[in-house]
């Protein structure tokens, strides 16, 4: 099945510069005919290209406010990072009320679901038979990255549902309890997302099933929609059901510290994350229990669809959660549920399958021949990695040539040298 991406290009605006080309962590971009082209086979929806494009030609795909079917019972699912976007917000209840006043029927905090996920994860970690370290599946970019690059870590990725899915599920359940007359189709859940990767997650992972999340809106779009309603809230009509732990999921380290297990690693920024995964795969970090990785700097507060600087958002969240209880969603250990029991229906994430998208050829003999050719071509290239040919590095260019996707004459540096020597010959001749 074709993977649906949430990062796309506005050809009109793209000048064909090399900014995104050089920054793409999976080398998925090439410049062809003066415009960027994204190879969907390699793209992991990290959004780096959106971040660096000076012409705003890279855009995220998400649902628009106008797309919402207002005849339905619409439940807003704000990500914890959403609460860090507003200055002068000292109580989350005001923002939740503003969402209701802006047109939603109900609000269900993803942070609340995150606290439930944390509880279950703590239980899950007590099991002896799981591959360690357990890698969080909360950041969809990381999950995709591992499936394309790290065959030996696929089994370590958590298969329990991430907070976004848990939130959709719980929100629907609550709506049905409160309004028994509502059918499944009457209820629509609307995730307010900090990043395009969550859009891809919704569009790809729930193929063929009833998705617990129906729409994904951009956090910055919703931000501008609720600014006015927020100012007008005199006294809140809904109240938050989240503690410190749920809010902490917005930035790196929050998710793992909540597990109360100090053998964890938390890293962010896509380049750092790749380095960490390489090291884990080589067995460099022994005795790790849990690994939390976020593609964006700072964690979800650093997503490309956010409004505020991630570090400022983080400070605001610290203020907001200061007087909150540690958690407001604790699972009691009952006779029916043992201390390490996690219901089977929570394991909804398909075990990750490794797909090698980098292979030069299906046939190994042919692959080796192509690799030899790449090395030969590379010998003759300037290794400046200037990107003028449209590939991010001289090696990538050599690979493109061998794969029939580029031509040696596209190397501007070598062509200039050739021209120079032709001119010199000409001058000699004239003398």
């Amino acid at each position: 099945m074709e993977y649906t991406h949430s990062v796309s290009l506005d050809r009109e605006k793209c000048k064909g510069c090399t900014n995104c080309l050089k920054r793409c962590p999976t080398q998925a971009i090439r410049i062809r005919d003066g415009h960027a082209v994204i190879n969907s086979k390699h793209c992991i929806d990290c959004g780096e290209c959106i971040r660096v494009c000076p012409y705003k030609a890279k855009t995220a795909i998400y649902d628009k406010w106008e797309d919402l079917d207002t005849s339905k019972y619409l439940i807003a699912l704000p990500a914890p990072s959403f609460f860090g976007q507003f200055s002068q917000l000292y109580d989350g209840d005001y923002l939740m009320t503003a969402l209701i006043n802006a047109g939603f029927s109900d609000v269900f905090e993803v942070a609340k679901a995150a606290e439930v996920v944390t509880e279950y994860t703590r239980r899950y970690m007590k099991r002896a038979d799981i591959p360690r370290p357990v890698i969080s599946s909360a950041c969809p970019v990381i999950v995709r990255l591992i499936s394309l690059r790290f065959p030996f870590l696929c089994d370590n990725v958590m298969t329990m549902m991430p907070p976004i899915e848990m939130a959709g599920k719980m929100a629907r359940q609550r709506a049905k309890e409160q309004h028994p007359q509502l059918s499944d189709d009457d209820i629509k859940t609307v995730f307010i997302s900090p990043c395009p990767a969550k859009v891809s997650w919704v569009k790809n992972s729930v193929e063929g099933e009833t998705s617990p999340v129906d729409y994904v809106l951009s956090m910055s779009d919703v931000y501008f929609r609720v600014l006015d309603p927020l100012k007008e809230v005199a006294s809140p009509t809904v109240s938050s059901e989240t503690g410190m732990i749920g809010m902490s999921w917005a930035s790196t380290g929050g998710e793992s510290t909540a597990l109360m297990n100090d053998r964890y690693l938390a890293a962010d920024g896509i380049e750092n994350v790749i380095r960490v995964l390489d090291d884990i795969e080589t067995g460099h970090f022994p005795n790790l229990e849990y690994v939390e990785l976020n593609a964006c700097n700072g964690g979800c507060v650093g997503g490309v669809l956010t409004v505020e600087n991630p570090y400022i958002a983080r400070v605001r969240l610290q203020t907001l959660r200061r007087y909150l209880p540690v958690s407001r969603n604790r699972l009691p250990v009952t006779a029916a549920q043992k201390a390490d029991e996690v219901p089977d229906e929570l394991f909804t994430v398909k075990p990750l399958q490794y797909r090698n998208t980098q292979m030069l050829d299906e046939d190994r003999k042919e692959s080796i021949r192509k690799m030899r050719k790449i090395e030969e071509i590379l010998e003759g290239l300037p290794t400046l990695d200037c990107g003028s040919c449209g590939a991010p590095s001289c090696r990538a260019f050599a690979e493109d040539i061998v794969m029939g996707d580029a031509d040696e004459t596209q190397c501007i540096v070598r062509m200039r040298e050739k021209l120079q020597s032709l001119l010199e010959q000409q001058m000699e001749g004239n003398k």
Binding site: D278, D279, E281, H284, Q358, M359, R364
Partner: protein, 144 residues
């Protein structure tokens, strides 16, 4: 090894501990492009990683040459460091001569050479005190 082998050369910088292990990451990527099985790639990259770290800790760096054939991958690690006095002893798990500051970083657990032996199909160590060490690792490529 046939003259047909496709070889890659890496300089392992002994002055930069932070970059130790980078060559094995590059090799991992190259082998992946050539479609080798993940299990084999893992064995090669771990063994080579251990070798790289050893050269940085004990020998101020060295060179690594990786040669790829249809049926075998070989990794040759060469340095001009202080050499290994007693190879048999050095091959024992837990035996280490790494300095404390290196151990503080989590290295020097005495598993470098044993791991290389464990992950490679063939291992040959030549060393002379004061001259240096040469280790050749071979990995058999299974059919498929």
């Amino acid at each position: 090894m046939s003259s047909e082998s496709l070889c890659f050369h890496f300089d392992v910088d002994g002055n930069n501990f932070i970059s130790a292990g980078e060559a094995s990451v590059q090799v991992k990527k190259l082998l992946r492009q050539m479609g080798f099985a993940p299990d084999l790639i893992r064995r090669v990259s771990i063994a080579m990683y251990e070798g790289e770290i050893n050269m940085v800790i004990h020998a101020h760096g060295g060179v690594a040459d990786v040669c790829v054939d249809q049926d075998v991958i070989s990794v040759t690690l060469k340095d001009e460091g202080k050499g290994i006095a007693d190879i048999e002893l050095a091959m024992q798990e837990g035996y280490s001569t790494a300095p404390d500051n290196i151990r503080a970083l989590g290295f020097g657990a005495g598993m470098g050479l044993p791991n290389m032996k464990r992950y490679a199909d063939r291992m040959d160590v030549e060393s002379e005190v004061g001259k240096g060490t040469k280790i050749v690792l071979e990995f058999i490529v299974a059919e498929g």
